[in-house]
């Protein structure tokens, strides 16, 4: 009964959301927001129907080819790509329009979200590999030509551009002429400030920049030491998180760009922020690590390529299955396990020290021994409880992208997209697409899917 009323409530809410929010649900930046949550409250009226399909003359030209076939030393086959940020033209959009940059023809385009008609396009002087960000009627986009651009959202007119590097020069890079200091972090815009990084090779220098979003005037440009910024940047209220390609993200102060720390972990450019916790990966083996705000140490590891977090729950897909996890409970148990482990270690040392001194070794440290036994018992309970945090798991071999619209999980695969209920993992919809679906976004009532073949599909439900 509870679940039934819950479902009814959801349906009712959905209906309200559908009627009220049809034109109000924006997807203004890569993975929806500066935490890169990949989730929107927009409701998709599943089943969806394809409304249009636009195919670019030129398919995306990713900067980096695939990873090595294997890590022979560690005996790991089929390494996961850690630099897969530009395999498709990633879409952003609002108010019936969608926008994307092209790594093939260096342009930024605005399309009618219903028909796919091109409304305007603007040029940069090198590939645009990262999705634009929409903010305050403006389009912010970075280019491999070393510049951050601000365009008028309505007309595409260039309002300003900014170069972080001290000189303008182009060298052959990733098969094109480009700046040694490309903007490959996307642009995070919050309130009045636009943040981005320029640079790639530390030997050439790199900068973390903050500009006045309206004027393009520099607020700060902090030189980065030993950082290779590459991957969509994230922001919390006080921090900026800079992915570094195959490497580990760096955390910086938002107020002045000063570096706080480098993360540990296995590297990769998929990242999301949950509060002040950073989750990123996929490393070599398809694992996401979670890091708290206060430390570079990993607090949890999840087997997955992408993750979405909402409330207490998290959804993961590994390329083999899709699962729902009670994340807060899982983390709590892990925290307790870690604490008990540390306590046990301390106790063991204590016991060892006491026994070393004692003549009758069996009679000393009884109190500690009792505590150790209790810890052992609790640790066993935790080991049993942890797997129960996975509420459901369903086979699913789609591996390129996952986003969430309200209570529906949307996954991109090779030649197909599918939707699953976030509540129970049941598939609720599927459709074919041209190519591998590396990009997905939900703008208003429409799901946009972009592929490695340069196709952009628009799917929406029948308005009831």
């Amino acid at each position: 009964m509870k679940s039934l009323s819950g479902l009814l409530l959801v349906l009712t809410t959905s209906s309200i959301a559908l009627s009220l929010d049809l034109s109000a649900q924006a997807w203004p930046t890569y993975r929806h927001d500066m935490a890169r949550s990949g989730r929107t409250d927009a409701v998709l009226a599943v089943p969806l129907r394809e409304r249009f399909c636009v195919r670019s003359m030129h398919r995306p030209k990713p900067a980096w080819p695939g990873p090595a076939k294997r890590d022979a030393y560690s005996k790991i086959e089929n390494l996961e790509p850690r630099l897969a940020f530009d395999r498709a033209f990633h879409i952003v959009g609002e108010k019936g329009r969608i926008y994307f940059g092209s790594s093939a023809d260096d342009q930024v385009r605005c399309l009618d979200g219903k028909t796919g008609e091109v409304l305007w396009s603007g040029f940069t002087e090198a590939p645009v590999r990262f999705a634009p960000t929409l903010h305050g009627g403006r389009v912010f986009v970075g280019s491999d030509d070393g510049h951050a651009y601000c365009l008028d959202q309505e007309t595409g007119k260039q309002l300003w551009r900014f170069r972080a590097a001290p000189r303008d020069v182009r060298v052959p890079g990733n098969g094109r002429l480009m700046s040694p200091w490309p903007v490959r972090t996307g642009i995070v815009v919050d309130k009045k400030t636009a943040y981005f990084c320029a640079g790639l090779f530390p030997s050439e220098g790199a900068w973390l920049c903050a500009l006045n979003a309206r004027s393009g005037k520099k607020q700060f440009a902090t030189a980065l030491s030993g950082t290779h910024p590459q991957g969509y940047m994230l922001a919390s209220r006080s921090r900026l998180y800079v992915p570094t390609g195959r490497g580990r993200p760096a955390v910086h102060q938002r107020k002045n760009g000063a570096k706080i720390r480098d993360m540990s972990g296995q590297g990769g450019t998929f990242a999301l922020l949950v509060g002040d916790s950073l989750i990123y990966g996929p490393g070599k083996t398809g694992e996401l690590g979670e890091f708290s705000d206060s430390s570079s140490d990993q607090v949890a590891t999840f087997h997955g390529l992408h993750m979405i977090v909402h409330g207490d729950m998290a959804w993961l897909h590994s390329g083999r299955d899709l699962s729902a996890l009670h994340r807060t409970k899982f983390l709590k148990l892990l925290g307790e396990q870690r604490g008990l482990g540390a306590r046990r270690k301390a106790l063991q040392k204590e016991v060892a020290a006491l026994r070393k001194k004692a003549k009758n070794k069996q009679t000393v440290a009884r109190k500690q021994t009792r505590e150790l036994e209790k810890i052992g018992a609790r640790l066993q309970e935790i080991s049993a409880e942890l797997p129960r945090c996975v509420l459901w798991r369903t086979p699913c071999d789609l591996r390129y992208e996952m986003i969430m619209a309200k209570d529906v999980l949307l996954l991109g695969g090779d030649g197909e997209v599918r939707a699953f209920s976030a509540k129970d993992g049941k598939q609720v919809w599927e459709a074919p697409v041209h190519g591998r679906a590396w990009g997905m976004a939900v703008v208003d009532d429409t799901l946009y899917v972009s592929t490695d073949e340069g196709a952009i599909h628009g799917f929406s439900g029948d308005v009831r």
Binding site: D71, A72, F123, E125, R170, N174, S203, V351, G376
Partner: protein
């Protein structure tokens, strides 16, 4: 009586001993014993029953028998112990546990383990007497490898003073490192069938029959008595009863010749495809052979099949007999009964014959592939003897040559034996003299080329991952067969083979090869023929560089043309160059972009940069051409600055060449593995120093390269081109802008372990010479086109497996050595070659020779000894090497220098022009056992090698007279330290961490910075380059160390200073590191 008496006494004593020793703990995994065994079974592990000895099957990760979660409650003996187990291990693994009660977590080492490591049993124990504060385990490892298909008795004992490990009653290891009471951890799980502690959980896979623990250390006689007492129970059974077999062999006449009592209701189509000497039954997926067999006695079965997989199908059957099924699911071989299947992990490759044996002993299902056990699984115990209906080949696409069905249980030894016999009968693939090799023309179109002496109609058969087969016609171009494959999908790999039908209609097929579009480096654009172009365009395009690259167009806005985009569009259409247009005016730039975008060539073919002509925002030395429009005010200085040296052109829009750039003075080449034939690892490039900036970066990345640890051949450079040896592929790049000029996929191209061999590459001028199996290919350095091939002279060609070894080309001769393919290192299984021993054996050449570069005519030969490949050193007139005149039998068999006797090794110099010997010197090189190098500089030959020390010996190059000797202790291991190749620079020999005077051998400096990792050093004229975490530079004059962070080089030689650049092709493939970038990159001297 005299004979019988002692025998009786021995038997009686044995029995007495066996009975006398009572275990404190016993776990007996028989049906009756399980009830008595304390603990609980986890996972799906289940009891194995007759006809094999009763035992527990440990198959999955979860399978284990938990004795106790608390080590205390397990009450294990403390002062002395014996742990004995009856076991058969499935396969070698890094670690496996039979009985574990330990914690081995970093420095924390307590408890005990009876288990195995690799293919050998081990016994580990920690005691209080050897406690270093947090415990210390001693691991004993047995001598012999465990054997499959029989139970072994493994025993670890400890008496408070000594640990011992017995295998089948034989003492295999012992240690007195531990003393006193056993030191158990306070907390550990006690498990059978796992090595399990807080940090690790290595499961055991195989069969466990019994584990016993005694509170004393059994002595050798007692151990043997224990073994004898249960030997009968754990006897591997001989199959009793009548063995009956059914055998079918595809024959030319008809299926009626098949033996057995099967009545076939439908027949498969018999055909020849040339891949088999005998006939095979060809299945297309629609046919099957069906019949009924009389029952076979007993509960054991073996099925033996020789099969060739055609295309992959979702599900296909090789043979089904009753409920017993051998078939493929998604290309993976599986064998089972009912719902239980053993499945081989990897897919079978198409177009390849396999010898497959599947056995069922009534309880265990096993699959052997080409003689090796590859999978096993327990069958459902409820399943009884099978028989009755037989089906062969249902849904199967491919060929079956033979199928044997028997109730005999083939042992692994018998399987190996059968495979060996049948392997010789396996169809021989069609021989290909040259190739095949593939080149991508566009991302989705490839061309495969080869030469074969066989005549007939040929075609290429291509199969994709979904099993879809495509047949492609072949044309003959001047004696070379060429097949163009179209509509290849991006990011997919294909398998292909070449088929040929001879005049008699018989078909022959090659082995299968891989074609992967992930390695398509060609652009989508192909230059259009000039046939429809106007004369002005023809003139301009004719003056333009051929092939891909970058061309900069200046002044198009000032050309006066009413269609300024036309010139640019023509260049984009008729050339393969990327066009970069520089225009000062913002409005004009924008207009031109719009115009080019409308032609759908913006970005992909043309980019417009808005900038002033007197300060072009372009890097230096990158443009293959600068096209200057008429009337434009262009800075000549800027034009020349951006122009690529060694052939870059300044051209007017009317096609007049104003200037052609030449080689920059003072630059160096890298034409051989260690720079030049002199092996100094130095290019003497006068421009490259420690202040560098980015010149270009990009492909090739890590995917097409060999794993870093294989130590592959070095990249080469000359005439502005860079050549890179990838994993079975070869690249030619424009060294100044990184453009991939050409790339060939060459399945046979692979040579590694360079410290123990010579490179298969050499470049001379515009020719790249590449040794591929037994041929030397001559490629056009600019286009990659095959110009010619040379053969090993007939008289010098090894009979088996011939391979062209050393390569050194001169204008008048090509010098080579003959060796064998099996002597060279291939490294296809992830080998690293950084250990002493078998990985360190230098490859030997059986003869050296010189042939004419055009005609292949033999000019001279040098025979009678075996030449140590990594020592071959060449200058303009002389060839130096070390030879072994009496290699050991093992060395001869392997084609490698397995050992040296100090009496038969000679340092030799021969004349390069004639091969005549100039001098020889017998020399004791026994200390040069791990690496063995020879280098030449200013009249001094330097031999460098390692054993326990790092040795460098100097010789007069003109006479071979020894000049000096130097040795010092090796501080770093063979991963990168002891293997270091010397660098000779400015009269100084840089060896591992020391610098020696070239003439005297004296240590002149020891301040060489430490290097981390595995690479070897190189040098320009003034600076050393190496890997120290990242790309690193050390200037010996200023002592300045410069690190270019974030990107690392490979595990041998991949940083080459040449052409005024530091060239660093990607070579960290497979790196465990988190370096942010893996890319090929070039640096140039930074402007002050």
């Amino acid at each position: 009586m005299n004979h019988i008496g002692p025998l009786c006494i021995v038997v009686a004593t044995t029995l007495t001993l066996a009975v006398a020793q009572r275990p404190t703990h016993e776990w007996d995994f028989s049906k009756a014993g399980m009830a008595r065994s304390k603990g609980s079974l986890r996972g799906p592990g289940a009891l194995l029953q007759s006809p094999l000895p009763e035992a527990l099957v440990f198959r999955s990760r979860e399978d284990r028998f938990v004795v106790s979660n608390s080590i205390r409650s397990a009450r294990l003996p403390k002062s002395a112990i014996t742990v004995a187990a009856w076991v058969t291990v499935d396969a070698p693994r890094t670690w496996g546990g039979l009985f574990s009660a330990l914690q081995d977590n970093g420095a924390f080492e307590k408890g005990l383990l009876l288990g195995y490591s690799g293919s050998k049993f081990c016994f580990a124990l920690a005691s209080k007497g050897a406690d270093d504060g947090d415990g210390k385990l001693t691991y004993l490892t047995g001598r012999s490898s465990f054997v499959q298909d029989r139970f072994q008795h493994v025993v670890g004992t400890y008496d408070g003073k000594e640990m011992r490990l017995y295998v089948d009653g034989e003492l295999e290891a012992s240690s007195k490192a531990q003393k006193g009471e056993i030191l158990y951890p306070r907390r550990a799980v006690v498990e059978i069938g796992a090595y399990h502690d807080d940090d690790e959980d290595f499961p055991f896979r195989g069969l466990l029959g019994q584990v016993r623990v005694f509170s004393k250390a059994l002595n050798e006689a007692e151990v043997r008595a224990q073994r004898a007492s249960a030997a009968q129970r754990f006897q591997w059974p001989a199959i009793s009863g009548a063995v009956r077999a059914h055998r079918w062999q595809a024959s030319e006449s008809a299926l009626s010749r098949m033996s057995g009592e099967v009545s076939l209701t439908q027949t498969g189509k018999l055909s020849f495809d040339g891949t088999v000497a005998p006939v095979k039954v060809q299945f297309t997926g629609a046919e099957a052979l069906r019949g009924t067999l009389p029952p076979l006695p007993g509960r054991t079965r073996s099925i033996e099949v020789t099969a060739l997989l055609g295309s992959v199908r979702r599900r296909s059957l090789l043979a089904r007999f009753g409920e017993l099924e051998l078939g493929l699911l998604d290309g993976k071989l599986r064998f089972g009964i009912g719902e239980r299947f053993a499945t081989v992990g990897e897919k079978l490759a198409p177009f390849r014959w396999y010898h497959i044996v599947a056995t069922w002993d009534g309880s265990l299902l096993r699959i052997y592939l080409d003689g090796k056990q590859r999978a096993f699984e327990r069958s459902d115990p409820q399943v009884g003897p099978v028989g009755g209906k037989l089906t062969i080949g249902d849904g199967f696409s491919g060929g079956l040559h033979e199928l044997n069905l028997s109730n005999a249980l083939l042992s692994s030894t018998e399987v190996v034996e059968r495979y060996r016999k049948k392997k010789a009968l396996f169809p021989k693939p069609l021989g290909v003299e040259i190739g095949p090799y593939a080149s991508f023309l566009t991302p989705n179109r490839a061309e495969i080329r080869w030469q074969t002496p066989a005549q007939g109609r040929a075609w290429v058969e291509l199969v994709d991952v979904d099993g879809k087969v495509q047949r492609v016609a072949v044309r003959n171009v001047r004696g070379t067969s060429v097949a163009q494959i179209s509509r290849l999908r991006s990011g997919l790999s294909y398998d292909y083979r070449i088929l040929l039908e001879d005049a008699a209609g018989k078909q022959h097929a090659t082995a299968s090869y891989r074609l992967d579009t992930a390695f398509a480096y060609a652009d989508e654009h192909v230059a259009t023929s000039l046939a429809d172009a106007g004369p002005d365009v023809v003139k301009l395009v004719s003056a333009m560089p051929k092939g891909p690259g970058y061309s900069v167009v200046l002044g198009v806005d000032a050309s006066g043309s009413s269609h300024p985009a036309a010139l640019v569009a023509d260049l984009a259409k008729y050339t393969e160059q990327q066009i970069v247009v520089v225009i000062p005016g913002a409005g004009q730039a924008q207009a031109l972009r719009r115009s080019l975008a409308a032609r759908q060539i913006y970005g992909t073919r043309v980019t417009v940069v808005q900038a002033a002509f007197d300060d072009l925002p372009l890097g230096s030395d990158l443009a293959n051409a600068v096209v200057v429009a008429k009337g434009a005010k262009i800075s000549q200085r800027e034009c020349r600055r951006i122009l690529r040296p060694e052939g870059g052109k300044i051209i007017t829009a009317s096609g007049e060449v104003l200037h052609t750039a030449v080689q920059v003075a003072g630059t160096g080449d890298w034409t051989h593995q260690y720079g030049s034939g002199a092996n100094t690892a130095s290019s003497n490039d006068g421009l490259v120093s420690d202040a560098l900036e980015l010149q270009w970066f990009g492909k090739p990345g890590p995917r097409p390269m060999m794993d870093r640890g294989a130590r592959s051949p070095a990249p080469l450079y000359t005439n502005g081109r860079l050549f890179i040896h990838g994993d079975r592929r070869l690249f030619g790049l424009d060294a100044y802008n990184g453009t991939i000029l050409w790339a060939h996929e060459i399945p046979q191209l692979r040579r590694v372990n360079m410290p123990r061999d010579c490179s298969n590459l050499n470049v001379l001028g515009d020719d790249l010479w590449v040794a591929v199996t037994d041929r030397l290919w001559r490629l056009d350095a600019q286009t990659g086109a095959m110009l010619d091939t040379l053969e090993i002279p007939e008289a010098l060609r090894p009979i088996d497996d011939p391979a062209w070894g050393f390569v050194h080309a001169t204008p008048n001769s090509v010098i080579g050595t003959a060796t064998t393919l099996h002597a060279t290192y291939r490294g296809a299984e992830g080998e690293w070659y950084d250990k002493p021993g078998v990985e360190a054996e230098a490859v030997l050449g059986s003869a050296m020779f010189a042939v004419h570069p055009e005609s292949g005519e033999l000019l001279w030969s040098y025979t009678g000894s075996h030449i140590v490949h990594p020592t071959i050193t060449v200058d303009a007139e002389t060839i130096y090497f070390v030879e072994d005149r009496k290699p050991s039998k093992e060395s001869l068999a392997k084609g490698r220098l397995v050992s040296q006797d100090g009496k038969n090794q000679f340092l030799v110099a021969i004349e390069a022009k004639t091969g005549n010997k100039l001098w020889e010197r017998r020399y004791d090189f026994r200390d040069f056992s791990q690496v063995f190098y020879l280098s030449l500089s200013t009249g001094v030959l330097v031999a460098v090698g390692t054993s326990t020390k790092y040795h460098a010996h100097g010789f007069e190059a003109s006479t071979g007279q020894p000049k000096w000797q130097h040795s010092h202790a090796v501080k770093k291991d063979h991963h990168g330290g002891a293997m270091q190749h010397p660098v000779i620079l400015d009269g100084v020999v840089y060896v591992e961490q020391k610098a020696l005077d070239l003439q005297k051998g004296k240590v002149v400096r020891e301040d060489i910075p430490g290097r981390r990792g595995c690479g070897t050093m190189t040098a320009s004229g003034q600076t050393l380059f190496f890997r120290h975490y990242d790309h690193t530079i050390w200037n010996p004059t200023t002592k300045k160390l410069t690190v270019l962070p974030g990107i690392r080089s490979g595990c041998w030689l991949s940083l080459i200073p040449a052409g005024g650049l530091l060239l660093a092709p990607e070579s960290s493939s497979g790196c465990s590191c988190a370096n942010p970038i893996q890319t090929s990159v070039a640096y140039r001297p930074r402007k002050k």
